[in-house]
């Protein structure tokens, strides 16, 4: 593994922007293309919003944890909340109503699934929820994130 960044954001809508800024820096440093960075921004934003809204249910004293782990050919992003757990069966699967028109809400998980290469959702009742997202680094530019580079360059913080 290359760089590991761990951070926490307050459980307030809008606070995800700080985490997004950090994720963008890491992704750009790894050599992700601009369009993949945009995908990452939206996927991470939606995961954080879900954590704040559905996981932590807007509780003031809760936090959202974000971990960015860079590997040679991928970036793994994990978003953790402290909620009671979400029933995966309750996550909307249908995206259109009977009239073929898009339904109004529930696009968070849908967007994440469609914007990252791999996505998994782990629900631990009493211990919160984890959303893990992996973006593959394609056409890695030469000289970017060479092996052993930043191996000990880990960061932790609260935003």
């Amino acid at each position: 593994m290359g760089k590991l960044v761990e951070m926490h954001i307050p459980n307030v809508l809008g606070s995800e922007k700080a985490a997004i800024g950090k994720a963008v820096s890491v992704a750009q440093e790894m050599g992700f293309s601009d369009d993949r960075v945009e995908d990452l921004k939206t996927a991470l934003a939606e995961a954080c919003i879900n954590a704040i809204e559905h996981g932590n249910k807007f509780a003031d004293n809760s936090k959202v944890g974000i971990t960015l782990a860079s590997f040679d050919n991928s970036l793994e992003v994990t978003v953790h909340d402290e909620g009671d757990g979400i029933d995966p069966e309750k996550i909307p699967k249908e995206r259109t109503g009977p009239n073929g028109f898009p339904i109004r809400r529930g696009y968070g998980m849908f967007l994440i699934k469609n914007l990252v290469n791999e996505m998994s959702f782990e629900c631990k009742p009493g211990k919160g929820n984890n959303v893990k997202m992996i973006l593959h680094l394609e056409n890695k530019p030469a000289g970017v994130m060479k092996e052993n580079e930043s191996r000990s360059d880990n960061e932790r913080g609260t935003i």
């Binding site: 809508l13 809008g14 369009d35 945009e38 995908d39 939206t42 934003a45 939606e46 919003i49 995206r95 259109t96 073929g100 028109f101 898009p102 339904i103 109004r104 809400r105 529930g106 696009y107 968070g108 849908f110 967007l111 469609n114």
Partner: protein, 114 residues
């Protein structure tokens, strides 16, 4: 007006413009919907959403745009949009918004297609 969004409306002949700058989210999306609800907008048959290039839209904001598209379809309005980044054009396609909001690269193209 929310500090994260700036929305204004104007009109040229039969086309109403809704100019949107900033973040469209669950918190600020109501501002866009209010603009759409103004008498001159909601009664117009042609509406052009002009997004600033750096507009940010999340799933909460998409919900309000879906509301507008849904109402527009019921009223038989033609709604187009311009200015969206390639990323958010892709998002519009993903969620199916392009079935009711036509996307154009330039305002001129959008106007020619009303």
């Amino acid at each position: 007006m929310s500090k994260d969004i700036n929305v204004s409306t104007s009109q040229a002949n039969d086309v109403v413009f809704i100019d949107i700058q900033g973040d469209i989210t669950a918190v600020t999306g109501e501002v866009v919907k209010e603009a759409y609800g103004a008498d001159n907008v909601t009664n117009s048959s042609m509406i052009l959403l002009r997004f600033a290039k750096d507009c940010y839209i999340n799933s909460g904001g998409l919900a309000f745009l879906i509301d507008i598209a849904s109402e527009g379809r019921k009223k038989g309005q033609k709604i187009s949009a311009t200015g969206l980044s390639e990323h958010f054009q892709k998002i519009f396609h993903m969620v199916g918004l392009t079935r009711c909001i036509s996307l154009f690269a330039t305002e001129e193209e959008a106007m020619n297609n009303f």
